[in-house]
């Protein structure tokens, strides 16, 4: 007997004896064949595995020397640690998520799975080399690994652009994918140029100012831009809600783009007023997106948010608080600067990375890793044997504890950085490490479902 399943509804093939009123055929998304379904999720899952490995490694780096956070943000150890967290954990998880989200959000298929795997290989090899090169402050070595990383991001950006082009979509979500991948590529290329500048000194600007410009290209250009779009596909999907008004979504996206176009050069050239004005535009963009998120959450039918979504939302709020802190630092005449201690760039950095990016990315992983695992372990069994829900693969208590401890760690870390107090830094680091440890245990428990023996009995 052959299955006659088709992605779109077709005319009646036989005289019907309807059990319910008929539904007219309508638009359907692209649904793959059995073989393409079987391949689904493998690439993003590989990225998630790599990001989890990096989460463990980056936490070990921090536990090994929490005092690094009391240094200036230009110190080699700080730059190495920041790249371990931002590239190793966040960029790896976010790019992997794009490989999963972009095709489904746009109703198409990924342009090239092969490009994705090349990107994975280049990313797996280059980030450890970059972190090592930063810690040794070996700019020649950084150039080699940085070039490999840039090649991988180039493949990622091309893949994303081609996928969006194939879909024909040009809504806010599509634009956030186009723009964020473009900014990521630009950030990496600019980082390579700035690294070369440390070697040959061909840009007559303060290297620390260039470092800030580079960091904001990535933070605002890639992460914020991505969140400002895909959030409005994911949150309604997970909460049975809707986006009641797309205007604040679009306003948030374009205000941040406008702000970043001014902010990056203003930071590089130390143009105080231009930087403050551009920072205010980015802040306005974040406020517009926060309003859109609030409106979207208000429409949700599933009232209780699961731990991953709660972390995602609280991380978004922390990004807004971090942006306020960033604007305060940009204010002309602000005393905050690069010197260690007090309200400075490191306080802002910890707020962004540990307070904002970590819960947003970890929360997203709490949703996406179980789902990808479910697709591979249980998807082919749907309708043949009883299958669990994706959320049932993880332990909600462990998940809540992990995310809660990570959130609790932010306050002592910020205070420790502010006061340069090793006790607070140690306490914050251990809270964070415990939270990360529980998170990894939970994620491992999810990934164990991929073993054939664990799914055979389900």
């Amino acid at each position: 007997m052959n299955a006659l399943s088709k992605p779109t509804a077709v005319g009646s093939l036989f005289s019907p004896a309807r059990a319910k009123s008929p539904a007219a055929a309508g638009h359907a998304p692209v649904i793959g064949s059995s073989s393409s379904l079987a391949a689904q999720g493998r690439l993003p899952l590989a990225f998630m595995g790599l990001a989890l490995a990096w989460l463990g490694a980056a936490t070990v780096m921090l536990v090994a020397s929490p005092g690094v956070l009391a240094l200036s943000h230009g110190a080699p150890a700080v730059v190495a640690l920041a790249h371990a967290w931002v590239l190793g954990v966040f960029v790896t998880a976010a790019t992997g998520a794009v490989y999963q989200i972009a095709p489904v959000a746009l109703g198409t298929t990924l342009w090239s799975e092969r490009y994705g795997w090349w990107h994975f290989a280049l990313q797996a090899v280059s980030i450890p080399g970059m972190v090592w090169a930063f810690s040794r402050w070996d700019m020649a070595l950084l150039g080699h690994f940085g070039t490999a990383f840039a090649l991988g991001i180039g493949l990622f950006a091309t893949n994303t652009w081609k996928t969006v082009r194939r879909s024909g979509c040009r809504d806010a979500v599509a634009w956030s994918l186009i723009l964020s991948s473009g900014w990521l590529l630009l950030t990496v290329l600019v980082g390579l140029v700035f690294g070369a500048n440390r070697f040959w000194r061909f840009i007559p600007l303060d290297p620390l100012a260039l470092l800030r410009a580079h960091a904001h290209l990535g933070l605002i250009g890639f992460f914020l831009t991505l969140f400002q779009g895909v959030t409005f596909r994911l949150v309604p999907m997970f909460t049975l809600g809707d986006v009641p008004d797309w205007r604040p979504v679009r306003a948030g996206l374009w205000l941040s783009q406008l702000g970043l176009l001014g902010l990056a050069p203003a930071l590089a050239w130390r143009a105080e007023f231009a930087a403050a004005a551009s920072g205010a535009l980015v802040l306005a963009g974040i406020i517009a997106s926060s309003r859109a998120l609030h409106q979207t959450l208000a429409t949700r039918k599933k009232r209780i948010l699961d731990p991953g979504l709660r972390a995602f939302v609280s991380g978004s709020v922390m990004l807004l608080i971090a942006a306020l802190a960033g604007c305060a630092l940009l204010w002309p005449g602000s005393r905050g600067g690069s010197a260690p201690g007090g309200f400075n760039a490191m306080v802002y950095g910890v707020l962004v990375v540990m307070g904002g990016l970590l819960p947003v990315i970890a929360g997203m992983m709490c949703k996406i890793v179980p789902f990808l695992t479910w697709m591979r372990a249980y998807g082919p069994k749907v309708g043949r044997v009883p299958t669990p829900a994706a959320g049932a693969l993880s332990n909600p208590r462990l998940e809540s504890s992990a995310l809660g401890l990570q959130a609790l760690a932010v306050a002592p870390l910020v205070w420790g950085v502010w006061t340069r107090n090793s006790v607070w830094l140690g306490a914050g680091t251990w809270l964070l490490a415990t939270g990360v440890g529980l998170f990894l245990v939970n994620q491992w428990g999810v990934l164990r479902h991929l073993r054939p023996a664990s799914t055979a009995t389900s």
Partner: protein, 106 residues
Amino acid sequence: MNAIPPDAAAVWQALATIPDPEFGVSIVDLGLIYSVECDAGRVRVAMTLTTPACPSAGWMQQGAANAVRQLPGVDAVQVDLVFEPRWNAKMLSVIAREQLGIAAEA
């Protein structure tokens, strides 16, 4: 010996065993099954998803076909994925509302 072809009730029952991977609620209780047509061993199902961007669309469609195909007397199965009318919360059953913690008026 040929089995007796299933009626619509049996097909609905088979589809009710499939949980949605995100919410853990049966796809029948979620209101994702729009219609079932049975004619001498040939079964046609019209189903939808809570959102057209649902990443599990392929598995759900194929899973529905698998569940129906397992019924005795089924010769052919066709599962159509439709998005008109768009799914909405009013299509949820009382059981699904309880499982999802949704107020009755939602």
